[in-house]
Symmetry: C2
Subunit: 306 residues, 2 copies
């Protein structure tokens, strides 16, 4: 056997012990086209390697990870975004929202966008019917869109979407030929908005994929507390994407996607049949009401990324 | 407007500022079925959140990340494993191998398994032809399988796989009806192994998918230095998965998958036509030779995971 084919170890740049390996991967992004891309990748590599080293990931666990990613990739299609769901249940979506929506304390806080927004929702007149066939207990929702100093914001576009009484959004029904439980309104001169819809209920996120397996392995529930989605856009203000939560929901403290902010918890009041509703009507069934102001932060110009 | 629907902030467990959010996600794994799963997920969440916070990931960048994961998921199929490739180019595969293959300094080091191993390779007699039609400069490879104390290991199974002169493995050719450039041998009483094959050449990892986009954005090359894969199994020894690299390759110091260990760099000797080969034959074309010992670590019983 020829000794020269066994060079001494630990002296060559090709020899990558763990710390040197991590540094070599970090350095491999030195020639990146974009400084921001390099910054993100270097940080990702450092934290990814730190995670793997910390838990001393076994080869079997690495294979299990590859299998999880493969299955998550394959269940994702135009109708279902398992990666967003994964981001949600790991608190990543909410973390990104928090980092990107620092605003004055008076402004309504942001929360997760969720997978059920649809472009091109129907226009609903103020005081009109946004349920459009969605089943559930009638609920009259109203409030104002204002700036942080209380100034009314007339003409703001208020997008609303929500589940029905069975916990489903319209897009979850196969073959439904119209949108329901969603719509958009424009605020009046006083910033006011109001519509009839149905009382939202708690519902589970989809559990028949890899993210469901992860929740099961963690002993975690899939439920989201009852909420209504709002997205508000108005000239001169930051876009607001948020929910209003039902303060009586048992899942407020274990939302599967960590989306609850206490400032977004509201009171739905419940009324018997024959009571006069805020719009002067007298519904012949029991109904609920919600009143909630949506407070917009002033627009900030962000400097361009390097 | 009713004040009671705007509770004071920062006092409720539902209120998740960034640090509290991360802790809430970590705590959500307290009910895990397996203590090891909980340990891995808590560490993953902590490092993932630290990465996102450190770079202050924007919402657009988060969307770009979701898009990258979606594309990586969709290009992966039974024939192509883009997740393994991603793990490789981020140095994750090599890190896991390093963590799981700590062994005596005399033992041959491990490196990445790669995507081109195939079960059921043909048996090749000692001194036989492993090229089986693979094109390239003839190369006679030989060595011994020994323990760290030099004890020969007879009957060891030596699996070999390699690219041809065009940089392709057999599985990369559509419609090829037989395996080539791969096979397995059993060592003789002296631990010896030997076969004819072809000289390996450097080749690029696949660049037509998201991982290729990542390398391009990083200004990184896709090349792997020329190498031959070996997997050695023998009773009483740890399985060895490794490569032997050509010491003259220009890509030794920028292997796209960080797989080079200096102890795995060997010398391929080159001979003119008419020279006598180590097996006593006199090839009528130029040929090369490699001699390399494969040193196995003794089997260690690992305790079962909790």
């Amino acid at each position: 056997m020829v000794n020269s084919i066994h060079p001494a170890r630990g002296t060559s740049a090709a020899d990558l012990a763990d710390a040197a390996l991590t540094q070599a991967v970090i350095d491999s992004f030195d020639g990146s086209r974009s400084a921001r891309f390099a910054e993100i990748m270097r940080s990702l590599v450092r934290h990814l390697h730190a995670f793997i080293s910390e838990v001393e990931l076994t080869e079997d666990e690495w294979f299990a990870g590859i299998d999880f990613l493969t299955r998550t990739g394959h269940i994702t299609n135009d109708q279902r975004q398992e990666w967003v769901l994964l981001s949600d249940v790991l608190g990543v979506s909410m973390l990104v929202i928090g980092l990107n929506n620092r605003k004055p304390p008076e402004a309504t806080e942001s929360t997760v966008f969720g997978p059920f927004f649809v472009e091109g929702s129907p226009h609903v007149e103020l005081g009109g019917d946004l349920a459009r066939g969605a089943v559930g207990r009638p609920c009259y929702m109203s409030g104002r869109v204002v700036g942080v100093d209380g100034t009314p914001v007339p003409g703001a576009r208020v997008e609303v979407w929500q589940s029905d009484d069975d916990g489903f959004y319209d897009v979850q029904y196969d073959g439904l030929d119209h949108m329901q439980g969603r719509g958009h309104l424009f605020t009046d001169d006083d910033g006011g908005w109001r519509f009839w819809s149905v009382l939202p209920v708690a519902y589970p996120i989809p559990t028949d994929g890899p993210v469901g397996d992860l929740l099961a392995a963690a002993g975690r529930g899939p439920m989201r507390p009852a909420h209504v989605h709002f997205m508000v856009t108005a000239d001169g203000y930051e876009r607001l994407i948020t929910h209003v939560f039902d303060g009586t929901d048992e899942h407020l403290h274990n939302d599967a996607v960590f989306g609850v902010r206490s400032s977004l918890i509201a009171t739905f009041d419940h009324h018997e049949a024959g009571t006069e509703a805020p719009d002067g009507s007298t519904p012949d069934s029991g109904f609920s009401t919600l009143e909630f102001d949506l407070v917009l932060a002033p627009k900030v110009d962000t400097p361009a990324q390097s």
